[in-house]
């Protein structure tokens, strides 16, 4: 896409998002805030999927461990946001350093192992009820307060999230176009070639995994302050799957794709569940349709229309 056009388009989107609370009701503000939070989670998944070619299905683990850590510190120990929020990110990232050892495997083994690892976290969240609160989780998480400035209202949290997502996307753009990002894409395209020119793929993939876990943890902390409670659902397999779905629906390997995908998936689920009982089945059909007919996601579809080609399989 034309660089100038892209910048203008991005500025217009941010301006619309900034003016939206003046006209839109609380439903839309809440939906967009969720879109930003889960967009960040989808972005973390796509760092591995779209750029490094690793299909992880355990990102709910980092997301929820960060959310639980922050929630437990704030609620049970009265720790302030300034400490509890970074602690959450650190906890999720440490878990990422452990689970990241799975980059020793590839392909199908990597997928299956990440699923199993993700289930450990769900199992602990669910069964270690004396610490995690079991099924009920941790409730009454206070609104975040940073440097004396509280984000009490939904609208203020929305603006905060908007700033976070814009900065995150800019940082992500720098990251994926850095030499590190290029190395990852090189490994995705041909690992053997990267090895033969002297790279050590496992080290780069491990770094990408840990970084990705850190982003997912960041999303988890933002989620718990928005949601104000956390329970084992946030650690469950469907969350990991949904993050992947978002990345793919929007357009894997792109920068805005995961965010768009997050919006599409959340809006669709909200819309379908308002009149149709079987909304999980509809999400399942979306999976099937995307895999069969639009593997490039929305961004891929748009690009293939621009290039005058049929969206290929």
């Amino acid at each position: 896409m034309d660089r100038k056009l892209a910048i203008v388009l991005a500025l217009v989107c941010v301006a619309i998002a900034a003016l939206l609370p003046l006209v839109a009701g609380p439903f839309w503000i809440a939906l967009l805030t969720q879109m930003f939070i889960f967009g960040l989670l989808a972005l973390s998944v796509d760092l591995l999927l779209g750029h490094a070619g690793l299909f992880s299905l355990c990102h709910a683990a980092f997301f929820s461990v960060a959310a639980y850590t922050t929630a437990i510190l704030q609620v049970r120990y009265g720790v302030s946001t300034a400490l509890a929020a970074p602690a959450g990110i650190v906890a999720g990232t440490l878990l990422g350093m452990l689970f990241g050892l799975s980059v020793r495997t590839r392909g199908v083994y990597f997928i299956l192992i990440t699923i199993a690892l993700g289930y450990i976290v769900w199992g602990v969240a669910y069964r270690w009820s004396s610490f995690t609160g079991g099924d009920n989780g941790v409730t009454n998480v206070p609104r975040p307060a940073l440097a004396g400035y509280g984000l009490e209202s939904m609208t203020s949290y929305y603006y905060f999230m908007l700033a976070v997502i814009v900065l995150s996307l800019l940082a992500y753009r720098v990251l994926v176009s850095s030499p590190f990002g290029l190395t990852l894409r090189g490994i995705k395209t041909s690992e053997s070639r990267m090895t033969s020119v002297g790279f050590r793929p496992n080290r780069h993939l491990y770094a990408a995994f840990v970084l990705s876990a850190a982003i997912a943890s960041f999303a988890g902390v933002l989620y718990v302050y928005y949601n104000r409670f956390v329970n084992p659902v946030s650690a469950s397999f469907p969350i990991s799957v949904e993050a992947v779905l978002m990345a793919i629906v929007g357009g894997s390997g792109t920068i805005v794709g995961p965010l768009l995908g997050s919006g599409i998936v959340l809006a669709l689920r909200n819309w379908v569940s308002s009149f149709f009982e079987l909304h999980a089945a509809v999400m399942g059909l979306v999976f099937i349709a995307v895999v069969l007919w639009a593997p490039g996601g929305l961004v891929g579809l748009l690009e293939s229309f621009r290039n005058g080609r049929r969206p290929g399989r």
Binding site: V124, A281, I288, L292
Partner: protein, 287 residues
């Protein structure tokens, strides 16, 4: 203490029997067709629900096992031919596609059979407990489950190692093109294995539904156990599925008994360590 330890061993063996039914089909599908079918857990759950309905109508548990298996064999064959086939050997697409299929099946099952825990009723003579040597009293049904597991394992082993069909399947696991070049109808072979794998999953649902009960979400819980079995045993290996099922069953039973809050950890911790040193599992080959 020793009595409990023995009881847990039998518990583990009965879970292992169930997991073997599920994991053997998963591992054979992968070995031969390179298909990763994440809907396998949903097949299990749906098979269980079908079996439940059959028991309610006919009162026959044995018919229910067959009906659950047969219904899923047909469904599995259909899904395999119409949907999974189109992903080729792209595992990422397969996983997403079959997760989607599992969501659809799970939601339709929830809509049809509701969200309560349902138990498949077992025949009268299996409802009581049996006294084993050493004064151990154990539910008869679970003992029979171990029996079913052993019989299926034996039959599969014979089929795999002693028949012409098994020889062709084994050859197909090693080199599919070569088998096709020898004039074997590979497509027909795939259909047989796919139907067999689905049959085992559906059947597992009926017997599993009689002791673990059926409920929404059970499809993922059981799938993860089956995945650990195939990861530990090695994808594509029948023997691996047997040993893996036994290891996972016993770890789960002792884990629940000794460290109830961390039983998942007891189960997945050794798996993670094994995976670091031997990513292809105990019996797997690199693919």
């Amino acid at each position: 203490m020793t009595t409990s330890a023995i009881l847990q061993a039998i518990n583990g063996a009965s879970l292992a029997a169930l997991l073997f039914l599920l994991a053997s089909g998963f591992t054979l599908s992968f070995g031969l067709m390179r298909v990763v079918n994440m809907a396998h857990g949903a097949y299990y759950l749906l098979g269980g629900y079908v079996g439940l309905t059959v028991v309610r109508i006919t009162g026959s548990f044995w018919l229910a096992i067959f009906a659950g298996g047969a219904a899923i064999a047909l469904l599995g064959l259909f899904i395999d031919r119409v949907l999974i086939r189109r992903t080729g050997e792209n595992h990422l697409a397969q996983v997403l596609l079959t997760v989607g299929i599992a969501f659809v099946i799970g939601d339709l099952a929830l809509w049809t059979w509701g969200g309560d825990n349902l138990k498949v009723p077992v025949p009268m003579f299996l409802r009581g407990a049996v006294e084993l040597p050493g004064g151990i009293v154990y539910p008869a049904f679970r003992l029979m489950l171990i029996g079913i597991g052993l019989v299926v394992a034996l039959l599969l082993w014979l089929l795999y190692h002693k028949t012409q069909l098994g020889a062709v399947v084994r050859a197909g696991v090693d080199d599919r093109e070569m088998v096709a070049a020898n004039g074997i109808h590979v497509d027909r072979l795939f259909m047989v294995v796919s139907a067999l794998a689905s049959f085992l999953a559906g059947m597992a649902g009926v017997v599993g539904g009689a002791f673990l009960t059926l409920y929404p979400g059970a499809e993922w819980e059981i799938l993860v156990f089956a995945l650990v079995v195939v990861i530990v045993g090695g994808l594509g290996s029948l023997e691996g599925a047997m040993i893996g099922a036994l290891i996972v069953g016993l770890l789960d039973a002792y884990g629940r008994w000794l460290l109830p809050e961390f039983s998942y950890f007891v189960l997945f911790g050794p798996m993670a360590i094994l995976m670091l040193f031997r990513p292809t599992g105990l019996f797997g080959k690199a693919h």
